[in-house]
Symmetry: C2
Subunit: 352 residues, 2 copies
Amino acid sequence: MKDKAAKPGGRAAPAQKRPAHRLTMADVARRAGVSTATVSRALTRPDQVNEKTRDLVRGIAEELGFRPNLIGRQLRVRAATSLLILVQDLDNPFYAELIKGAEAVARANHLSVMVGGTDGLEEVEQLYSEQFLGRRVDGLVILFGHLPAGISPKMAEHSPIVLVSEDNPALNLSSVLVDNVGWAERAMGYLMERGHRRIAHITGPLARIISRQRQEGYWNALAKAGLPQDPALEALGDFSFERGRAAARELLSLPDRPTAIFCANDEAAVGAILGAADLGLSVPSDVSLIGFDDIMLAQISQPPLTTIRQPRQQMGAAAAQLLIDMIEHGPGKRAHKQLDCELIERSSVRSI
Amino acid sequence: MKDKAAKPGGRAAPAQKRPAHRLTMADVARRAGVSTATVSRALTRPDQVNEKTRDLVRGIAEELGFRPNLIGRQLRVRAATSLLILVQDLDNPFYAELIKGAEAVARANHLSVMVGGTDGLEEVEQLYSEQFLGRRVDGLVILFGHLPAGISPKMAEHSPIVLVSEDNPALNLSSVLVDNVGWAERAMGYLMERGHRRIAHITGPLARIISRQRQEGYWNALAKAGLPQDPALEALGDFSFERGRAAARELLSLPDRPTAIFCANDEAAVGAILGAADLGLSVPSDVSLIGFDDIMLAQISQPPLTTIRQPRQQMGAAAAQLLIDMIEHGPGKRAHKQLDCELIERSSVRSI
DNA sequence: TTGTATGCGTTATCAG
DNA sequence: CTGATAACGCATACAA
């Protein structure tokens, strides 16, 4: 048997050639004839070390291809390193830009961003919750209106978590929102200003608060105009293109058909364009359409869609910023931020 | 002054109430009157500990809201924990489903997925490279055809990295690809079978290999049919809707205008539909169009687009699987996987 | 300016 | 079955 190094903790033998991805500061230190402390300093606090030593150490690190292990560092330095953005549906075009906004702010603060798509599955939510509870991510941006399975309201109360786009007032969490009710009203107002009185609504999935809020805006507008609520004019949607198409067909087959439809989101609205076409009707001559979100599709649909634009990038940025504040100053700094939308006029509405 | 605990490493004072997110196994151990080793075992290897002890420990952990710190664990247990997917453009609809595929496989292997959007910025690539080199992520799925800044070809050679969708043969890396040349030829063949002879091409950005491959397929098809290459029939694109629209206008303003256009991707093809419309031309009666990718937009454009479908979900899944194999068995297991596309027939092509 | 020693929170080893 | 102890890789307080 070979001798073992005398000092406990000493390496068995200075491995001939350890793969670059397994080098540690000790390896660099040995080669440079300095202590690991000096290596650490040379790499992260260059000013605290003699110029010659610094260059020596850095040269050797470079030569060896050494990169400090961030896990080791993170265990030692308790600084936030990453945010997790949770969405239900990764291929919902609404989210990408929002994520971009968050990413930019995170990056500026030296945080990385993880994105998780849950598909609404509890089991997946659970998995991501573990990352958070296990402190592998330092903050949570949630793009659906509930806490992911595995995080109790009590835990959430004292944690850096922010709800974006979709609120849940029951949870008292920080949030970045738009006034869905108000802007739905505004969309309706736009239609009414152009003479529409018989206006239908294609809802989102009513299980989601955001859908109910836009529906509420629809109702409010009706009420303020002294118009009755006609259940026949409300078609249940689910934010999908296909459902929007079908819903439009239903609505436009009504004996006294609506002159305009307020769609809970753009995707459904684009579906509605085709639904109208299915019946030989065209937009906006036969029926006017207004959407919500201003996704890219809204610009390139035929006709281009008049819609309510949500400031997605800003929403993402604000969320990240809020989160970072909470991480730095503790969750006491809870906040509710409301951003403005904008009505984008294109060609899917005509005056009557 | 108060006494300090006798043992070095002993905590100064059993903090009255430490926030739940700062509890350690030591806290649980103390409360349960066992060692940290037992706590660890009770939590992660329940079978290796006496039933009564186990329940006691787990009960207390639960009661305290203790969650093991994954960073500590990861430092100790060198097991892979996450993959990083790098894309240039997060809001490119092509990627979402691919990411989903990768995520599913990763999840099944107890890995989490990070997604990074670089916007093509070296500085951002650098940032993500550091995550990888710092071993905070264990594998890299790259959705653009080059190594991110900060990773040298030599490093890459021995690392779990896989290129997806877009190849770079110069780098000898594992990859998951489709035969872009072949399927571009197939698209052209489809047009030719329907009598088209004068066929234009809207390219992708030629800086990208994938664009050049599809262009090559275009040329090959021409050559095999004995047709000449007419530079006038090639319009430079950049995969964008707007550029596709403009390019189509150029092409269709030609004195002897093409009867069909092969577009390097769907987004440009949808743009081309509008470009044709701008000139009072309609698809497919005046000009036939075929795309590439089969993004969602292709289904809902008017007319719906005939196109080449890439198996995006499978590509993502295959990439993740490849990566996992490399992580487990070392990068010796390099592999090049080629997946099949499918021609999706819709209504943007007519026979002449 | 540099080195020594310690601990971040967990788990593996080994002895009891 | 359980406990003591030593790492994992790094950064810092403190001593030199």
